[in-house]
Symmetry: C2
Subunit: 354 residues, 2 copies
């Protein structure tokens, strides 16, 4: 056993051929006799030869690595997203360089810059990116795909979650289930998802419950804000028949406020959230919500990016939108466990470690 790793030269010498031939064989370029190929392969595996990626990247200009820049995501959302990306990347023989937990635009910029030259393309998921940001921090010709972003770029494809349609579907369900007065607990004003969800609520109310006054209480996506919103809603007269929160955590906070006040859910008031976090099905009563197919988002984004890397596949920037499904559980008094929109089986709760 030598202490240094074998290089292509070692293989060439040992196989009595030139380095060019070794390279040709190992990259399957052809122009080499089957016999020579056999010998080269044998020697290569005998020496346990692995091509040096740095040298290869240097000459080819490709790294076979894609970078993912993600914000400070929590729990399921983060893990599902990475899962989707990772699986798709592996299927394409790409590696995944991750930089997560970015809070603030400077942080995100640093992450993007640090990846320069290390990746062939980037997946960027950050509320801080806009056209100027990209212009400034992204190398001229680097392919990139934006996730869940309001940016409309002619250069980069954007993949969004159809928050608006999800919200519309849920409001429609609530109204059709007999709850005309649907109140809404909004998310942070600056958050893109929150904005879209509120738009969906407004649009759906206008369409499916025309003439019913809108009730909107501010929230910020935290359980705490949901709790406060819940208490506030109980003071409204007339009391709304249903509450739709812009995310599950707020819905849960709201649920606690109702419980505390002795208000029965769904008997006295119906409740629904958004995201379908794992907890949603474990609170009492289980929470109706809008499910987002996060892993799909990651997978689609990666495939989109992979297509850009391959000059053969012609691609153009576009904004694509991934649908949501509504999941009806007891909290809104619907038929239990019925899923209304077309849905895919979802990963069931599982142990942390297998």
């Amino acid at each position: 056993m030598t202490t240094k790793n074998a290089t292509i030269k070692d293989v060439a010498r040992e196989a009595n051929v030139s380095v060019a031939s070794v390279s040709r064989v190992l990259n399957g370029l052809g122009g080499v006799t089957p016999e020579t190929q056999k010998i080269v392969r044998e020697v290569a595996s005998r020496l346990n030869y692995i091509p040096d990626n740095a040298a290869r990247s240097l000459i080819t200009g490709r790294t076979h690595t894609i970078g993912a820049v993600l914000p400070d995501l929590y729990g399921e959302f983060f893990s599902e997203l990475i899962r989707g990306i990772d699986l798709a990347a592996r299927a394409r023989g790409l590696h995944l360089l991750v930089s997560s937990s970015h809070d603030g635009v400077a942080d995100a910029a640093a992450a993007v810059r640090a990846m320069r030259g290390r990746v062939d393309g980037m997946l960027i998921f950050s509320e801080y990116v806009d056209a100027a940001f990209l212009q400034e921090n992204l190398p001229e010709k680097l392919p990139a795909v934006l996730l869940d972003s309001p940016v409309k770029s002619t250069r980069y494809p954007v993949l969004n979650i159809d928050n608006r349609a999800g919200a519309v579907a849920m409001v429609r369900h609530l109204v059709e289930a007999g709850h005309q007065q649907v109140a809404f607990i909004s998310g942070p004003k600056t958050n893109f998802d929150a904005q879209q969800r509120e738009k969906g609520y407004r649009a759906a109310m206008t369409k499916h419950a025309p003439g019913v006054p809108l009730i909107i209480v501010d929230g910020d996506f935290t359980e705490e804000s949901g709790y406060r919103a819940g208490r506030e809603l109980l003071t409204k007269k007339p009391r709304p028949q249903a509450v739709f929160a812009a995310n599950d955590m707020m819905a849960i906070g709201c649920l606690f406020a109702f419980k505390e006040a002795g208000i029965d859910v769904p008997g006295d008031i119906a409740l629904a959230g958004f995201d379908d976090i794992l907890i949603a099905r474990y609170v009492t009563p289980p929470l109706s919500t809008v499910q987002v197919r996060i892993a799909d988002l990651g997978r689609s984004a990666l495939e989109r990016l992979a297509a850009m890397l391959n000059p053969a596949e012609s691609t153009q920037a576009s904004v694509e939108t991934l649908g949501c499904d509504i999941v009806i559980r007891e909290s809104c008094g619907g038929k239990r466990g019925v899923t209304v929109a077309p849905t895919k089986p979802r990963r069931s709760p599982r142990p942390l470690r297998t």
Copy 2:
């Protein structure tokens, strides 16, 4: 704007110095006049020069990247672990190459091999690794740290969660709270964590409730198996006074079985789990459990690895163990919300996206 990126040669030419001097300035090696430094820096930033990582790696043999090979982890555990690793890596100027969702030894082996030459070191978290696996798949001299692994290696440091001590602490708490007959729902027989937790249960019972017969029901970490175990436990005579499940999901399944049977928790029977998953505090009653500081695990592992990369810091293989805290909630009738073991503030539930 040229179409190609500036190289060190461009900078050298433009600044009327040699490439060597540019390199020296940009790497802060000294031996260059302040005036020259100034000029070089100016030119470099004017040309927007970014050193090519491939070329740099080729000559230095370092990538400033570490690889993380992870199994099919779920939700919080995965995201917290990555968070810990990522934060520590960023602090050290290291990049993170992730390969997750590995099921099976072949999968893990492929992941490890694929990282060859792309990373300076590896973090390996997989129940499939053993001494032979490492011997076979890991390059001779590549530093690596093993997470949550039974492997005792003289070559690689191992970082474990102190499952045993956590279990002991919880059993002790249950017994001291007046529940002598503590039953245990075990995890998968082959799972390292599950084994350690069971050992802890056995040891603690022997020590703190000597003479009390052990009651152990099989489970496999799923909610379903916890439910079945719960039903089985209700048939035991005498009925145990407390149930300790090897993870939270089983405890929750068990809780549902008890609810269904009209058994009050904690009135009729106390209940505790392990992991402190987010759901634990949202079920009714909130679940007592053992908290694992996952982000800490990731951070420690990375720092350990970083130390190995630096030849200056002398390091030797060792097995280190990270403590757990027990978190007492209503499900075991303890003083509500009291945390017994020393604990750190934990990230509170937060919105999926901020």
